[in-house]
Amino acid sequence: MAAGRCARLTSLRLESNGEEREVTLANGTASIDGKKVSFTEIRRDDMLVALEVEGSIVPVRSARRGDRAFVWCAGHVFEVRRAADRPARARPAAGESHAGLLAPMPGRIRKALVRRGEAVARGQVVLVLEAMKMEHAIRAPRDGVVTKLELREGDLVEAGAVLAEIT
């Protein structure tokens, strides 16, 4: 139980839900894109449980993994990351601009429906990945040509593995 702990001066460029903000904390005042907001931390057993922001108490819970912070606040959960890590984008994004198709989860290649060099249309099923006792269609995010595809049916893949490249 402790209120009023002050953070050192810090300045961060943060991104969440497609919004981007410059956030500076100093002595109980936050500057959010230049707008000053006074705040007090309310902690229980060193855990942040609420913030008094401009005189109003807002319950919060927060946690951090690597360079990402997770915040529960006002009935929503926000994932906040340092903006430098990735360009801001609005969720839900219509598609991704990776050349590579990444495995969304670990699994086994059930079927490869195209070959290297083949032209594919946006939305065309390229691979079928079996994971979680279900089959997932991995579709081409845009029209293009398969420039890389080294996996075969039955291959195991890790989450995030590049399944194919379409350029």
Binding site: L25, A63, R64, F70, H76, V80, L102, V128, H136
Partner: protein, 471 residues
């Protein structure tokens, strides 16, 4: 009931919540699901090691396996579930449909399974009229199911469905059902004892679905009036009777836009959504499963029809999944706080520090709100989901709030197309407190809940959003 519990776990799940909530727990060793939770010999060994007298199969893995039920009984243990014959009869969808037709229970119009070759099914589709649903006789949970809108697509859909059915169930027998327009899923809880008493414990409305899977259930169903409830309840009891059912089970119906109902399938186990029935009836269904397995008679109040639901209950299923595309998400739970208070019940399988893996169904918790009427239950459910804190793994929390606050859900007049008709789910504006809390968290020297900043194994999984799952 003062009955000790023995949990089983794969070695990788030694830190799972069910392990430390049980009185005792026994390891099933390592390896794949087939070598652990689906291994009948290992489960029986664990029962012996743990000194168990009876086995409750829950609602996953072997819960609907007649083979498992027989093995349990052969091992001299009490099987807390229906007789293996009833599981088999209901498990094969084609034979269940035939059985129901014979018992006078209406079934969804479809092919009868006398032959399942392409030509026969194509003729059947013409008779039923497109669109039709391709279904696997041995299937369940939407697996191997697909919609076909025109004759040209049928053959390809049958090929794919046979392949999935063969690999998932070892049986590629297919059948077709007419696709009903704007159907509702309404199921009835049934309960039967060993003395010939069979009752229904009212309905659950299960039409809020994504990917053919339920995410919000409520009882009573806003679609039923008293005569329809009686007719469907009687059909459900008849269906249970027809297969000599014992214990808890569920008869699922489709209700079309003209309020005609059709038998869809039976679940020969407890349903995920059983808590809403428990709340409105004030009963503990799991306790009654155990009592029935011990030979108890159903209470006279049940058989005399004196039970009546009180108030309204809503269950929201919290899944670790992307709220936009419904794909499962993994991660570790960095913070977990459950809502509480009168009329709020949370059945959860995780806690702070839990690991959510992609190996299992991504259901994290069931948040149940019970109140005096439907309006108050919706308000309470919304409050509960707002108060639920889950950090570190993405969930369908925003979608649940979106459904509950939609005008269509509020009206009560909805069907299985509800989720697809929702207005787009817009990310909420980020309030100042969230920016400040994030900045504090990212700049604290010793983050209390976080592993060292370097490794972020879950990051990789987020780069690419597949366009859909075949399911």
């Amino acid at each position: 009931m003062r009955i000790g519990t023995v949990a089983v776990f794969a070695d990788a799940d030694a830190g799972a919540v069910h392990v430390d909530r049980a009185d005792h727990a026994v390891s099933l060793g390592g390896g794949s699901v087939a070598e652990t939770y689906l291994s009948i010999p290992k489960i029986l060994d664990a029962a012996r090691t743990g000194g168990a007298d009876a086995i409750h199969p829950g609602y996953g893995f072997l819960a609907e396996s007649a083979e498992f039920a027989r093995a349990v009984e052969r091992a001299g243990l009490v099987w807390i579930g229906p007789p293996p014959e009833a599981i088999e009869e209901m498990g094969d969808k084609l034979s269940a449909r035939a059985r129901m037709r014979k018992a006078g229970v209406p079934v969804v119009p479809g092919t009868d399974g006398s032959a399942a070759d392409d030509a026969t099914l194509a003729r059947g589709a013409e008779e039923l009229g497109y669109p039709v649903l391709v279904k696997a006789s041995a299937g369940g949970g939407g697996k191997g199911m697909s919609r076909v809108d025109r004759a040209a697509d049928l053959s390809g859909a049958l090929d794919e469905a046979r392949r999935i059915a063969a690999s998932a169930f070892g049986d590629d027998t297919l059948y077709l059902e007419k696709l009903l327009a704007g159907p509702r899923h309404v199921e009835f809880q049934i309960f039967a004892d060993l003395h010939g008493n069979t009752v229904h414990l009212f309905e659950r409305e299960c039409s809020v679905q994504r990917r053919h899977q339920k995410i919000v259930e409520e009882t009573p169903s806003p679609a039923l009036d008293s005569p329809l409830r009686s007719a469907m309840g009687a059909a459900a009891v008849e269906a249970a009777h027809a297969v000599g059912y014992v214990g808890a089970g569920t008869i699922e119906f489709l209700l079309d836009s003209e309020r005609r109902f059709y038998f869809l399938e039976a679940n020969t186990r407890l349903q995920v959504e059983h808590p809403i029935t428990e709340e409105t009836l004030g009963l503990d269904l799991v306790a009654w499963q155990i009592e029935v397995a011990q030979g108890a008679q159903l209470p006279a109040a049940w058989t005399r029809g004196e039970l009546a639901p009180r108030g309204h209950a809503i269950e929201m299923r919290l899944y670790a999944e992307d709220p936009f595309d419904f794909l499962p998400r993994a991660g570790s739970v960095l913070e977990w706080v459950e809502p509480a208070g009168p009329g709020v019940r949370v059945d959860s399988g995780v806690d702070r520090g839990s690991t959510v893996s992609l190996e299992y169904d991504p259901l994290l918790a069931k948040v149940v709100a019970h109140a005096e009427d439907r309006r108050r239950a919706i308000e309470r459910a919304l409050r509960a989901i707002d108060e639920l804190v889950v950090l570190g793994v993405e969930t369908n929390r925003p979608l649940l709030a979106h459904v509950l606050s939609s005008a269509e859900f509020e009206s009560g007049d909805y069907d299985t197309g509800l989720v697809s008709r929702l207005p787009p789910l817009a990310p909420p504006p980020v309030p100042p407190a969230a920016w400040i809390a994030a900045a504090l968290s990212l700049t604290r020297r010793a983050p209390s809940n976080a592993p060292p900043a370097a490794a972020d194994p879950w990051e990789a999984a987020k780069g690419w959003r597949p366009a859909g799952a075949l399911d």
